[in-house]
Amino acid sequence: MRLELRGITKRFATLVANDHIDLVVEPGQIHCLLGENGAGKSTLMNCLYGLYTPDEGEILLDGEVVRFAGPGDAQAAGIGMVHQHFMLVPVFSVAENVMLGNEASKGVALDLDAARAKVREIAARFNFHVDPDAIIEDLPVGVQQRVEIIKALSRDAHVLVFDEPTAVLTPQETDELMEIMKQLRDEGAAIVFITHKLREVRAIADKITVIRRGAVVGEASPTSTDAELAAIMVGRAVELSVVKGEPQHTDTSLVVKDLTVTSATGQVLVDEVSFEVKGGEILAIAGVQGNGQTELTEALMGLETNVEGSIRLGGQELVGKSVRQVLDAGVGFIPEDRTHDGLVGTFTIAENLMLDRSDGPPFVKAGAIQIGFRDEFARQKVEEYDVRTQGIHQEVGRLSGGNAQKVIVAREMSRDLSLLLAAQPTRGVDVGSIEFIYKRIVEMRDSGCPVVVVSTELDEASQLGDRIMVMYKGGIVGVVPADTSRDVLGLMMAGIAPEDIAATQAEIAAEAAASDDAVSDAVDDAAPPGDTPSSDTATTGTDETGAAR
């Protein structure tokens, strides 16, 4: 089915989110939408999917004008959408979710068997396995996303929209998703794909349209380089790699010793983890999502209840402290799940910028919020961090994803920090803002503050980190230098200790034999030779003042 959007315009009060956008998506084509945060990509797709009614313009399917009053109409017309967040009912089974809103009924009873068969049939077509009776909330994100795809396909979608589907996927899940998309394309579907990851764009796009500030600014060729794509998207040259010097270590270090976190049900989530982060260096924590990174960061923040061991920041013990005390000790935290943990969606930008300083000066004096100071602060940060918004009194929930992330980064980076803890700091953020956020993180490191970055993106971990710590099943597989190859990191993420990998690589010829050793020889406390990338321990006076100010 050929999709054409003609002159789509959507306004939110004074803001023109989509300004006469024209777009043609041919069947059998993967059409990438590139654009900065807040460019209006999601808004455009929501117009197409019937979630918003465009103020002007029309939608044509195979040359015929269609109008949608809601997503139901869009689905009936053959449009499917896979959102970044899933519209699934978590307590329903896969088959029930697929059936939802599509109730093929046998009299009064819902035809669950037919839905099951449909799930199996579509899964088989794409060569993956999904149990139709599995409950959604028990499934990993990647599989949940497939359920969304199955749901769309079960309604004969010929136009499929993927809005940042890869933001929450592991690299492997991403690859699998791209395979599915290719197959869909080859079967003749028209596909719209939104992502901020240029690598994915280059790998899969047949056509690229770039949107900036609500308007189409041009097309790009899929053979363009990352730098070219980034430049046309942001409208200026973007530094895609992280520029940073050798780390200058200071005395304020984070020392974690034998840290164990157990769940309420007694499950060990973080298993006797010990590591150190010196002031002035960035430790990147890599690993497949769900291997204890989340619990580790939450334990550092005082958010976990069952914690044993010790966390010392500049000599001060943090275990047993309340979140408030941890924050007051100077820990800045960028949580991985921004809407759930980092922001209050119905609060304004100004309010969110003071969220973790709502108990005292400078934002609060004698129990009263200093409105003037707060608003001035907010205006300044919105400007400095380039948050695209209609004003500081806009609800954060109405910001585009990347702009919401910038609000958190701005809030945390503008406190006096003695430790920065950033989990997935650039999730859903455009390349221009990634450049900016990386710069701020490196600045924070250069001011002498220890920095921990948790990332499931290998590129991010190796670019930002001075050292990389890989976690697997709640434990540490090893800590390796930042220039460790992707392959080795990949193996470590599967739980193979770096010593064994080194051994493997030393004897290229005797590969098979070496890997046998690898299995038998498990080393608990991984401390590889490349532990400290620089022996430079000089602490300069300026660093000290920078951190103490």
């Binding site: 999601s42 929450v168 922001l343 119905t346 973790d356 709502s358 108990d359 109405r398 585009s400 994803g401």
Partner: protein, 445 residues
């Protein structure tokens, strides 16, 4: 909002979410939140619709209408004119009983004519205070249906002290009694907050149970000599004329300084919710407790404090009853007069905003004052007023319906998420409507 609403992204997060709150509960919360933050236009729309429904009820229960409709097909005009006059009479009486009475004015001039308005203010006084209490708890994400219990304890404290310390000089005794009543309400409500924070007991259940305890405790006090039982030997407390709120405009009107206190409470709540760090914390835990926790706000403690502030405001309403309209007669076990429940509707109609609560409280005060006049003057049963109040709740609880009827724009929150909790909303609406009509019947009894 479009692509960023939270969905647990991996088993870990899903688990964390399950630890915190069952999803069912969250959905219910969302629904109640939407109901309570009704936009002013939805509130006005609901009001208009409620009057329409009220008109229909008035028309069908009017004896003249019933009579002439027998020959509807011969002379339909008769029916319509009877309809018109029945409805017109009822609402004109409602207005005259609530705002301005022409007959009074003819007799005694303008000042006499606005006597109904003054009795509206009197009726509105405790409704505003209690409505604020419900609104504050609601903004902190909790549903305080313990108004009755909190009012009862406030009245007990104020009534008892007002009697035993009746020798104290004028403003001092009043102040002590008000403070004691407010504190009693705060503690009784704080108990529910404490149970929720420490044990996870749902505040709806806890406050309902505390209502029973308070009610029967009051009955016991009223029955037991040496306690609250009046010197006359009736289950009515002793009058406390020395501790009464003085009248605001002299003896011509019933309105007392208690009304001014309610106005002050509105201003205080506005400041609390919009300008204070405490209110900031209340709203944060109400909107996203998880983010509040991550931001270092002590969610449990804030819950207790929010419930205490809510209880203090409801307690103020109890004090206004005991030291206001009931000061000269003493109070029995119906001292709360259903205000604790009406307050829910007032908070609802006011969108949980202090200013909104002020207007909603005034409106409900007008209903009470005018309803009595309507019953006397137009022979329309006062329960029509209860019906109108309940219908308001119903329509506010179903904003999509009101929006559709009046073609109001959809607020820009994700439309889909809304659909998902339509069911829960219907449930909540039913529960609310029920509590609304319950106290309606109590009032007319």
């Amino acid at each position: 909002m479009s692509d960023e609403t939270h969905i647990p992204t991996d088993p870990e997060v899903a688990k964390a979410a399950a630890d915190a709150d069952p999803p069912e509960d969250n959905r219910w919360k969302d629904a109640v939140r939407e109901i309570f933050s009704a936009s002013p236009w939805v509130a006005v729309g609901a009001l208009v619709l409620a009057f329409v429904v009220g008109s229909i009820m008035i028309a069908f229960t009017d004896s003249r209408v019933q009579e002439v409709s027998a020959w509807f097909f011969q002379r339909p005009g008769d029916t319509f004119s009877a309809l018109g006059s029945a409805i017109g009479r009822a609402y004109s009486q409602l207005f005259q009983g609530a705002v301005f009475n022409v007959a009074f004015a003819e007799r005694g001039g303008f000042l006499e004519g606005i006597r109904p308005l003054m009795s509206t203010l009197t009726s509105a006084t405790p409704l505003i205070a209690a409505g604020l209490g419900v609104a504050v708890s609601f903004r902190a994400g909790m549903f305080n249906i313990g108004g009755r219990g909190q009012m009862i304890f406030a009245a007990i404290a104020a009534g008892w002290l007002g009697y035993v310390w009746s020798g104290l000089p004028f403003p001092l005794l009043l102040i002590i009694c008000v403070v004691a009543g407010v504190l009693a309400g705060a503690l009784w409500s704080g108990l529910a907050g404490f149970l929720k924070a420490k044990t996870g007991a749902h505040e709806v259940i806890a406050t309902i149970m505390l209502n029973y305890i308070a009610f029967y405790f009051l009955q016991w006090l009223l029955m037991t000599p040496g306690m609250l039982r009046g010197v006359k030997g009736t289950p009515i407390s002793n009058p406390v004329p020395d501790a009464a709120f003085p009248l605001l405009f002299g003896s011509r009107y019933t309105v007392s300084w208690a009304f001014v206190v309610s106005l002050a409470a509105v201003a205080f709540c506005w400041w609390l919710l919009n300008r204070s760090s405490m209110g900031f914390a209340f709203r944060a835990i109400g909107e996203n407790p998880r983010a509040a926790k991550v931001a270092g706000i002590n969610v449990e403690r804030t819950m207790v404090v929010a419930m205490m502030v809510a209880g203090a405001l409801v307690g103020l309403a109890g004090t206004q009853q005991a030291l206001g309209v009931l000061a000269s007669s003493g109070f029995g076990d119906a001292v709360d007069a259903g205000i604790g429940f009406d307050a829910i509707t007032v908070a609802l109609l006011g969108g949980s905003q202090p200013i909104g609560v002020l207007f909603a409280g005034l409106l409900f005060g007008a209903f009470q004052a005018g309803g009595r006049a309507m019953q006397a003057g137009a022979r329309v049963d006062i329960s029509i007023v209860a019906v109108i109040q309940s219908v308001i709740v119903l329509f506010i609880a179903a904003p999509p319906l009101v929006r559709a009827i009046f073609r109001l724009p959809q607020p820009s929150q994700a439309a889909l998420a809304r659909k998902a909790d339509a069911k829960a909303r219907a449930k909540a609406a039913k529960a609310l409507a029920k509590s609304g009509s319950q106290d309606g019947t109590k009032e007319s009894a």
